[in-house]
Symmetry: D2
């Protein structure tokens, strides 16, 4: 941590900062600098100390800014764990060099619709089946999902097909219910900083699929993962799904694909890309899906629906059976070229 | 609703859209237009119908875009309720022409600290006391609040001083606990789209103070309010607290003050401004607080701490006792000039 | 400047950075730190050195980031000039405690229209007359302005009324032409980083009114001012006019009003707010104009048009004669209350 | 164009809008709608008419919003020209199915440095050589380029190697000078709405390489292209180079790769991606370059420097000789897999 003083901060203000540090057993290193003084903290601090100190020092007179010299996350960091985390669910592996595709409809609407979706997914060669039973909808008047009935449908279809399932959980108290039926707990973009949910998901021991919030910088995304990891649950999967767009005329979000190599550098956790929400437009899903694979993603989450025109939610971004199957073929071929193994 | 077709969309695609509408009992109005066809829906639709139709039509071939001609919120809209909503808590009135100030520390840290804060607030003439018992912190390693112990402290200090209290609730299952001790339930910016929480807060019957999410357009903000209102709870208070900034060098967020006149035009709900989070810097709080009053806000939420340097959270944005008291004096004087009544 | 090394950067990489500095006569201060090493540069560097060093060091192996501990602008900085800059044009004073209003239409359309506009401005008590002769329009098919003919109209109306004039110049080679007729050169938001223009405007010796670019952080805004100042022209006036909005449904831009106290702290230059472009909606201009005064702005630029419905550009944001006159009355009254002098 | 009236707009306001249209020879189509009236314009309008009408109608009482039902650009639109535009410079082809790479240093620093750069570019198999002679630098104290001396170096190296050259031109009056030495005129991101420059570049007849502004929505980007095209110059090449980022901790901009399929759908112009500026970090250039090819881009602009550590500008994002050569090999191999021809 480095504390930069204001230009011309008098000696007593510099001394006050130094004293505050010494009172906590930290020996400051004073750098009389350039055109202002800076104070370095060479000692190793715990995360708690760093946060408390940052707030406190930032409020002191004469202090211009407090700069962290290391990242705020720890368990999520590549420095903490050099090896790629591999999340294993039955025979499916996420991360660690294989490439996984999660497909399925936005919402579970009925046994028939979901079975048909599962068939598309399975026949195409994908291994994870997504579906929403509880839907976070912007409007209270939109379709909100089938709730537990939807989870039961997912469980049964999973039993029939052998596909691993993933579904969103929207609050901490619903974690046990969802965990009873579903393999992977999804935390949606709007819930990325729902801290009670992150903690409960962490405690569940189930793999957690964490979507990046639409205005979350990378550091906040990894700190949200840290919440789950700090509960002793190492099975966190990250998902880039688009950030706030410049305008909403052509796409619903801005897919931040460079976040893939950034995340692969700074964290050991698997990184999945969701081009369906990331663009919001079915015909941009295929090019962005392939681009994500090439950029180094560990997999994709893609919406598909046997009949997008009749989907009760997000129909405009779901792929038809034909388009999803074609995309899976192209991804397999591209994976072959790149020497990647499809999960 | 207006459906704009792609340029050169063939007659059968136009007809397919028209048929889809007629099948639902809606007579479309076809506008052969400019350089493309548009299809108007003159009938009055329920919100449910609108949302479902938008998704479905947007996925049809030949459709370029579906434009809503009315706003997606209803109960929150000024058109639904021309009169300003006034929220009353004991003898304090929020909205309807008076101006209210909510002051207090970011976190409840101890009985001593909170009593001292309450004294500042009360002596300065403010009427609502804020404090955080459950803190949504970006890092799992930061101070997370005193939990129920903090609520009890707030309740006792409220009893001693007569101040109305407000405190954040972070999940739906915690609503009863917080509602037991606290007068106004605060829903934080990160929870603006925590729909189970919105619904529980709505059901509690308590006044709900809803902060705008950092990347929420006005429509999404008002739809979040709609979730609470649609539970039969009319006592919703809106709060602008800053949106995602262009850069974070000088302020933590961008305070969107023009949202005040926009909201006052489109909704009947009271609008409060939080310049403490909105800027993140104590010395910008006073100018933005006064600007908010002039721009038409119904009140302010301001962080104050008896000793910001020792605050366990957000110390850099809290006002000292002196500065808070001075600001309250200036606000009272400005209110007098503007002919506003301080609550 | 502080160079933070990557975690576990080996001694030879640290030494390579140190050597690079010593080769330039700079003695580095090595801080063995926390969980990584940092290297401080205590010597005073010229701006040139800082920029070159930052690029070079940032590219070295083992370097995690290079943090500047002082701001990149110098002549524009409050630290360079503690006294407020006051720009004087004839008997009008901008900055230094007075409050100035610049009014007029977006475009000069004809002698009649512009004379009528000038009358509104003069009668209302404003002292500076704005008008566009060269219009930067997003579409090549929109009205582009009357060019030199427009400048001549402005000059003549200025002679008739005594009003100081301001008009936009769009390229360096047009500076002499505009400077021949107009008192203050306006550099538009889209031209904020048109460096040849900034340099020519600087050389002209005329006061320069510099609008903030829609995606410009404060540092880039002040560096653009630095371009003008570094030509020996001290008469720079800054203008906040709205930044990229979250969405465009209700306002055209997000007016960043907190930039006013930020700029007043970090620079000595006068700060004007343009609520017409800042919101893009005539009925939000008055509340934001008054808020800007309260927030500490040195003045306003406001669009007014004798007949907004017939305006050839930006009609939806221009105030009618009545509304402009009423706003001027309110501003005068508010200035009286605040103890500010209207220019 | 569709004009949506405010809820409950009285009949006379609706009639006033209709009259305004009829006075211009346009027969309005009134849609008594849902919960408010809309007015459609079925006639075909010229672009001029549309813009003027939009401003005028938007300012009328009772009007809630004016929606364009077609895009504002015309010559740039795919609807205007179904065939891909192919720009040909000597034997190099840009667009139309081939893939082109433009490589070279940010700045031309000396004959030696530029010759060495050209050698890297040529040996690696790239065909276009970039270099900056006039550098738009954020700070007036940074290296500004060698000016005409730099252009002469570029011309000579082009003559020696046969490589096509591209270099930035910063103002309209410099177009003839740059056009004298250089094959393709680059218009930088900061100049995207420098309209006098767009017009002069259009008139020059030279191919124009137009970079997207950091806060430009797609419509504004294509309208900037329209400025060039409307001068009778069909040879416009578009470049996505990153938009304003959420934060600047890990990348300098957010590369909007989904803009590639969006642009390929809505315009016939070639689309190039610049991952060097788009990320600002050398080690993210290769993954994003390959992702851009897969996403459908027509080519890349990549910074390379024989010795990035000594680069006078943007050293941190330039690839070393080895890394550039390796990337070119990978691109060629990927192009082979995708069935694309490298130019």
């Amino acid at each position: 941590m480095i504390i930069v003083m204001q230009l011309g901060a008098p000696q007593e203000q510099i001394e006050a900062v130094a004293e505050t540090l010494r009172a906590r057993g930290i020996e400051p290193l004073i750098l009389p600098g350039e055109d202002r003084c800076a104070i370095g903290i060479p000692a190793s601090l715990s995360s708690d100390q760093r946060y408390d100190l940052e707030a406190m020092l930032g409020a002191m007179e004469g202090v211009s800014k407090v700069t962290q010299t290391s990242h705020p996350y720890k368990l999520a960091s590549r420095e903490f764990n050099r090896e790629d985390t591999v999340v294993r669910v039955r025979d499916v592996q996420i991360g660690g060099g294989t490439f996984v595709v999660m497909g399925g409809p936005c919402s579970v609407e009925s046994m028939e619709q979901f079975r048909a979706s599962a068939e598309i997914v399975k026949n195409s060669g994908a291994t994870i089946l997504r579906g929403g039973a509880f839907k976070p909808r912007t409007s209270p008047y939109s379709f909100q999902g089938l709730a537990e009935e939807g989870l039961k449908i997912m469980k049964q279809v999973s039993d029939e097909t052998g596909l691993v399932t993933i579904s969103e959980v929207m609050s901490g108290d619903m974690v046990p219910l969802v965990a009873k039926y579903i393999d992977i707990l999804q935390i949606g973009a709007r819930s990325m900083q729902n801290f009670p949910l992150l903690i409960e998901a962490g405690r569940s021991g189930k793999p957690v699929f964490l979507k990046r919030g639409p205005s979350a910088p990378i550091d906040e995304f990894l700190l949200a993962a840290e919440y789950v990891l700090s509960q002793g649950n190492p099975n966190v999967i990250l998902c880039e799904r688009g950030i706030v767009p410049l305008d909403r005329t052509y796409t619903r979000n801005t897919l931040d694909l460079a976040a893939v190599p950034v995340l692969k550098e700074y964290t050991h956790l698997p990184v999945i890309v969701d081009p369906s929400h990331g663009t919001g437009v079915a015909r941009y899903v295929a090019p962005m899906a392939k681009a994500a694979m090439v950029a180094g993603a560990d997999g994709l989450m893609i919406e598909t629906h046997p009949n997008p025109k009749e989907a009760l939610s997000d129909g405009s971004q779901a792929l038809t059976t034909d388009k999803f199957t074609k995309l899976m073929d192209e991804l397999r071929s591209l994976a072959g070229f790149l020497g990647k193994k499809m999960s």
